[in-house]
Symmetry: C2
Subunit: 308 residues, 2 copies
């Protein structure tokens, strides 16, 4: 059982999709990452910051899944990061209606002593300087550092992003962001360019169209499971990252072959996340359901062409 250190937001989300809307509910990258990683035998901790307005029950959602929350700073009188968004009819695009950074504006992450020797670090989408600060606090070199980011940081903190990217092993990024970061339309060429920026492994997420893993000239593709209904895509990318990093931390096997499995596990868990609003589906997810759906993934992509 490896140690997984997760850095990212724990937040309030307010979501509207064609199927309904929510009040303020539990969200945030670290939340989704942590819940997904908790499907594996992993000793994980979240480093984050919240305000006093975050209900105690929300933190219990995490502790109930054996996630260490000693690294979640609770700012007295502070307010928790809040995001409000509305998805378009096709669920592939959304408008951000409100972003209130609140306590996140002055977030100074403190890695708990017990996790300064984590095997795997999963850096959720955050300002790249915060991501870098976490790497700097480690006492032993992690076996693997995974970083997720988004176009906002390319627009607003590109030098810091390029700096932290030099220190990581895996970047997870969506297709449009990969194109923006590299100026290459072809995802194959985009991945090649990103390799030269630092990461030995590049994961390009294509939402409902699956995910690509690039390493040393090799490519692996994991489809998204075709679903009858996608209810709320919020957190799908973070759930993917949590499944990916959680599986690798638990298996303690950092090879391209095993990373393929990690991509499948991540895709598999993401397929559950989108079935309900927010974290609802992930909070109650059982191992049996997860394994059953892994079978579907095998059936979905396995074929029998005999090659010489």
């Amino acid at each position: 059982m490896g140690k997984l250190l997760i850095v990212g937001t724990v937040a309030f989300d307010e979501i509207e999709t064609p199927f309904g809307k929510t009040d303020k509910i539990l969200g945030g990258a670290a939340t989704f990452i942590g819940l997904a990683a908790s499907q594996f035998h992993v000793d994980s901790a979240i480093v984050s910051v919240v305000g006093e307005d975050l209900p105690q029950e929300y933190l219990q959602v995490l502790t109930r899944r054996n996630i260490d929350i000693s690294g979640i700073e609770i700012v007295k009188g502070g307010k928790t990061f809040f995001w409000k968004g509305k998805y378009h009819n096709d669920l592939n695009s959304r408008d951000t209606l409100v972003t209130e950074l609140n306590t996140l504006a002055d977030f100074n992450p403190i890695v708990p002593k017990a996790y300064k020797n984590a095997d795997v670090i999963m850096l959720g989408n955050l300002h790249p300087s915060i991501q870098m600060s976490v790497i700097d606090q480690m006492e032993t070199k992690p076996k693997l550092i995974v970083l997720d980011t988004m176009n906002f940081w390319m627009d607003n903190a590109l030098p810091e992003l390029l700096e932290v990217i030099q220190h990581i092993d895996v970047i997870t990024i969506n297709d449009e962001e990969a194109r923006q970061l590299t100026g290459e339309y072809s995802l194959v060429k985009a991945a090649q360019k990103i390799h030269t920026m630092g990461p030995e492994y590049v994961v390009i997420k294509k939402g409902e169209h699956g995910a690509l893993l690039f390493h040393n000239g090799n490519i692996f593709f994991a489809p998204a499971l075709p679903l009858e209904e996608v209810f709320d895509p919020t957190g799908a990318g973070d759930t993917f990252a949590g499944g990916f990093s959680g599986f690798l931390a638990a298996s303690e096997n950092i090879t391209f072959e095993n990373m393929k499995n990690a991509v499948i596990h991540g895709s598999n868990l993401a397929s559950f996340c989108v079935e309900r609003f927010g974290t609802e589906r992930m909070e109650s997810l059982e191992k049996e359901e997860v394994d059953e759906r892994l079978h579907q993934f095998k059936q979905l992509t396995q074929f029998d062409i005999q090659l010489a």
Copy 2:
């Protein structure tokens, strides 16, 4: 070696992509289908219509690949169907600049006697009444009838399209067309509805995002091979259909398991088609290249998760 009957256009295409433009070159659904199918041990024939303006060399492109062209009517003084289009920068969308039906306007397909007992019929994108006429001319019931169509016929000949769809086994259709035909956004639900219209097998093509095969509650997914460069997408869908139907005709094995292989073969061949303008790449394609790339397809999707 099975008999494959191909119905579709043999045409002039004039193409502009971000990488360049062509004069009038050989195109048409039946052309791409035939070239792709010729990669397999299959006795295939094309039923089509052209004008006297089609250069003899263009027909020789087909006969050189052992495709029977006795069913291609050459109309005296007639002009060949002409399509001119321009692709947008992302190559995922295009504007049709010119469509001249010419001899296609009065096309009355005549199935050659020797192919009225074909094992497989591949009905390329054409007016659904023409597709139906071909089915009606068969003397023995084909083992498999595959139909490709597009949104234009949903807009302009829906009753005829719904009629022919009742008589086929496999429909190949792109994602947006599947949504238009059924009113369902979810491709899983769309496929379920299409099953009730007739076809036991539904193939939904997603372009660079691969293709899905639906049958009896089962789903199989074939990715498109991630390419460094897509040069010209023209004919990719038809090449897919040609590889799919050609492989099934050659193997004479119509099962869901073998249809998975057919989808992979179709995707594999389509990945070559887009590397050059028009038919250029497909005309010179060698078996060794095809097999080599099939290996890449296996590597792209194979993973090792052990399941109970």
